[in-house]
Symmetry: C2
Subunit: 144 residues, 2 copies
DNA sequence: GCTTGACTTCGAGCGCGCTCTAACCTGTAG
DNA sequence: CTACAGGTTAGAGCGCGCTCGAAGTCAAGC
């Protein structure tokens, strides 16, 4: 499979696929006689999984850590499981947060629908600092 | 209330608060005799709401559209309701997507936990292109 | 008077995740 | 032989949402 086909199948652009290979998210694809990438269909599974991680908000650097563990084989399965479990917890927390926001949105929408310039809609007095986001600045540590 | 206090109360930095004012997300704060911003406590409600929008993934340019409608008063309530309803739908869809991803994660984690290098964990053959993301490039239209 | 700390404006810089351009190469159809 | 589609690389550029630095002002406390 050539890069254009893979692009069509995954919904990513060829540019993005090359970019992913460059940074190590995708393994270096084998090349044909004229240097063009030739993909095995099995890559689709991996790319889809990457898509899930991306959808759930995992930053590329973390996907990269996972990818590198994966590349090192079965010995890293524990580490990978831990990584996914931590990510899962974050996603779950985020879903809960979103649901809370949804009810706030619903309240506000209901206010607009019912009130029609009769109720003071802009002041629903909920407390600030909703879920303990204490501004712990991420500390920008790099180093793979 | 001075900007530092507001920063502490909201969890945003003073830098960010000034930035928000600059771009129009926050109304221009009144200044005291020496030019320092003096905030009314009512701003907290608005900032919290902005936080909800941000948490739910609304881009700043959309918050800006909402903020400008809000600034124009009660006549824009219909438009604001529509805007929030559209956003709500997106958020709900995103939550559904995340939940689907959670079950995928769970499957994979379970595979690692049970298998321990006995099952082939890296090939759960789910179909690619999970939720009809057809690569409609956003079309980058600017203009407020 | 002097230091300290919190504020002001303006504008540059950054991290992220792509996205695109330029210049070039290759295989196939007409 | 020519045209064209689609591939290659290296590297620059972009949109987003901040984040920070420089240089200056101001008020309070010692």
């Amino acid at each position: 499979m050539k890069i254009g086909d893979l692009a069509r199948r995954t919904g990513l652009t060829a540019h993005t696929l090359r970019y992913y290979e460059r940074i190590g998210l995708l393994p270096r694809a084998s090349r044909d006689s004229s240097g063009q990438r030739n993909y095995d269909a099995s890559i689709l599974v991996w790319i889809e999984f990457l898509g899930r991680l991306k959808t759930t908000g995992m930053p590329i650097r973390d996907m990269l850590r996972y990818a590198k563990l994966r590349a090192r084989g079965a010995a890293t399965e524990d580490a990978r499981r831990v990584l996914l479990q931590q990510h899962r917890a974050k996603v779950q927390a985020h879903v809960a947060e979103l649901k809370a926001c949804l009810t706030v949105l619903d309240t506000k929408i209901a206010g607009y629908a019912a009130g029609a310039s009769k109720v003071e809609v802009d002041d629903d007095a909920t407390a600030i600092r909703p879920a303990g986001k204490i501004r712990a600045r991420p500390a920008r540590a790099r180093g793979n």
